[in-house]
């Protein structure tokens, strides 16, 4: 039944211009990162790794979280509009299936975004004249970052479900990401959901700074279970106000 739910969630996203947003917005941190790299080439000596510090500085702090948030807000916007809560909750599907189906799309979005960013990173690296191909390690960081992004996605999905506004959850994601930068540098990254994607993708670092993979994995699991449970609990217990 979950597959049927995922299928219908997919159908609900038809005819949207969301993909355009996701295609275009990641260009910004790419350009900003490459610009910074070129301007500071005297200080940045580690080639691809140096470019990554600049690219990821902008991307992880200001773009990844809000982009996930836009996707999650859109997923719920279609339900908040036109009394769709009524039909959503009277279909023969469990609350768990409803939340997990939406989460599946959001999780997929976190991975696809990272792959696209990887492509942009490689292209920008070639354009600024870096030799060869980007190291595979950075691709690994990107994908590990998407694991952290999944925590963001689960949280944003809960926020956008509860908050009917489209923009407010996105603003929260932006603030959360900026705060995430501070939390990570302060050593509290593991307990702040928006920090995990930065730590995962090793943002603004040119060597792998993730000291405790086990701790990272544990934090991922704890937050995911927490947010998913919150989302399902809300669907089960809250009166529907379409």
């Amino acid at each position: 039944m979950l597959t049927a739910c995922i299928k219908t969630e997919q159908m609900k996203l038809r005819h949207s211009h969301l993909w355009l947003v996701f295609l275009a917005i990641p260009l910004l941190p790419t350009v900003l990162g490459a610009g910074n790299y070129v301007n500071n080439i005297g200080l940045l000596k580690s080639e691809w790794y140096s470019l990554w510090t600049q690219h990821s500085l902008f991307y992880a702090n200001f773009f990844y979280g809000p982009l996930i948030a836009i996707y999650c807000s859109y997923i719920w916007r279609v339900e908040h509009l036109n009394y769709n809560w009524n039909s959503l909750m009277t279909m023969p599907t469990t609350e768990r299936e409803i939340f997990l189906a939406k989460l599946f799309l959001a999780l997929r979005c976190t991975v696809v975004l990272q792959l696209w960013v990887g492509v942009l990173f490689a292209v920008s690296g070639k354009l600024v004249g870096l030799p060869g191909l980007p190291p595979l390690e950075i691709l690994f960081w990107l994908l590990r970052g998407s694991l952290g992004g999944m925590v963001t996605a689960a949280l944003q999905l809960v926020l956008s479900m509860v908050i009917r506004s489209f923009a407010l959850p996105i603003a929260i994601a932006l603030l959360g990401s900026v705060a995430g930068f501070l939390m990570t540098s302060g050593g509290y990254g593991m307990i702040w959901p928006y920090s995990l994607m930065m730590m995962g993708m090793n943002a603004n670092k040119n060597t792998d700074a993730l000291s405790s993979p086990v701790g990272f994995a544990a934090a991922l699991c704890v937050f995911l279970v927490l947010f998913i449970s919150m989302g399902i609990w809300y669907l089960k217990h809250k009166d529907v106000h379409a």
Partner: protein
């Protein structure tokens, strides 16, 4: 009697205020049950509780003989079609795409989409985006969604809202036929008494969250029958005859208003008036308005 929907002491509180109080609904299987009441009386709240859209504060709901709980929620929803408050629709999708979502979730064969589209006469608009639909078309689409999968129970909240007169008539006839054609039980709400006359077999009336009346439609007519209005050519002659027959009457706007009479007594009286040359050119039963019925029902709540 076999009830498709039965509630016992159904109650909903919002912040200490009871908007639905102790409602014992009894909806017989394979009939149209009209659920009436003024706006804000608790109709939608009651229907939403039946569907599990809002939590019940007190009492219990039985659907298809089974007390509704978390375990059988899915099984019950599978056999239930509903249209609550206003039609739900994904405006950026076409009518057909909207139906495909319901069809996928209800695991209904795809051909049924064409069937329900035909049933509500929406074949031609099916590939248009729903946000371009008129309210009436959205209402029809909502009805088509509810009908998908031929559910045993159909819960419709003011389904004729926003339709034009021809559309209203068409939807009423469709609802009227559903029990016979498909064996469905239809629970339909409305704030219009006249509407129920054309659809319902059974009627429940809710007012201020209280179910103040529940019975066959004919029984409601007993309450709604008001007075007999006669228009005559010769009032003096008519008054003379009425006096002789011992029937009191009020003169009103050129007509005579008599208390309700039995059918045979009415026939006899009109015969006498004709013989006496009063010239009856119109005799009509004046129905009480819904408000007046409410008054008479609430005034006599003890005996109901």
């Amino acid at each position: 009697m076999d009830y498709m929907v039965e509630t016992k002491g159904l109650t909903k509180q919002y912040g200490g205020k009871e908007v639905v109080r102790d409602v014992d609904l009894k909806v017989p299987r394979a009939h149209v049950y009209g659920f009436m009441g003024p706006n804000g009386a608790g109709k939608s709240t009651t229907l939403k509780m039946l569907l599990g859209l809002i939590q019940i504060s007190g009492g219990q709901v039985t659907i298809g003989g089974e007390p509704v709980n978390r375990k059988n929620r899915i099984a019950i929803l599978k056999e239930t079609g509903s249209l609550i408050e206003s039609p739900s629709y994904y405006g950026h999708l076409t009518g057909r795409e909207n139906l495909e979502i319901v069809q996928t979730l209800k695991k209904v064969p795809k051909q049924e989409i064409t069937q329900v589209l035909k049933l509500v006469r929406m074949e031609e608009q099916q590939n248009k985006k729903v946000r371009e639909y008129s309210l009436g078309m959205k209402q029809r689409l909502g009805l088509a969604e509810a009908l998908l999968g031929r559910p045993e129970l159909l819960i419709l909240d003011e389904p004729t809202n926003g339709l034009d007169p021809a559309g209203i008539q068409e939807i009423r006839e469709l609802i009227r036929e559903l029990p016979g054609r498909m064996g469905m039980t239809v629970l339909v709400s409305s704030h219009l008494l006249g509407e129920m006359d054309q659809m319902a077999d059974y009627v429940g009336i809710i007012n201020h969250g209280h179910l103040i009346f529940q019975d066959k439609l004919e029984a409601l007519h007993e309450h709604s029958r008001g007075s007999l209005r006669l228009c005559v050519m010769n009032q003096t002659a008519a008054l003379e005859i009425l006096k002789r027959e011992g029937i009191s009457c009020n003169r009103e706007e050129g007509a005579l208003e008599l208390p309700r009479l039995a059918d045979d007594a009415t026939a006899r009286l009109i015969g006498k008036l004709w013989e006496g040359g009063a010239g009856v050119y119109r005799a009509e039963e004046k129905q009480k308005s819904l408000e007046e019925i409410f008054l008479s029902l609430t005034g006599r709540r003890g005996s109901l």
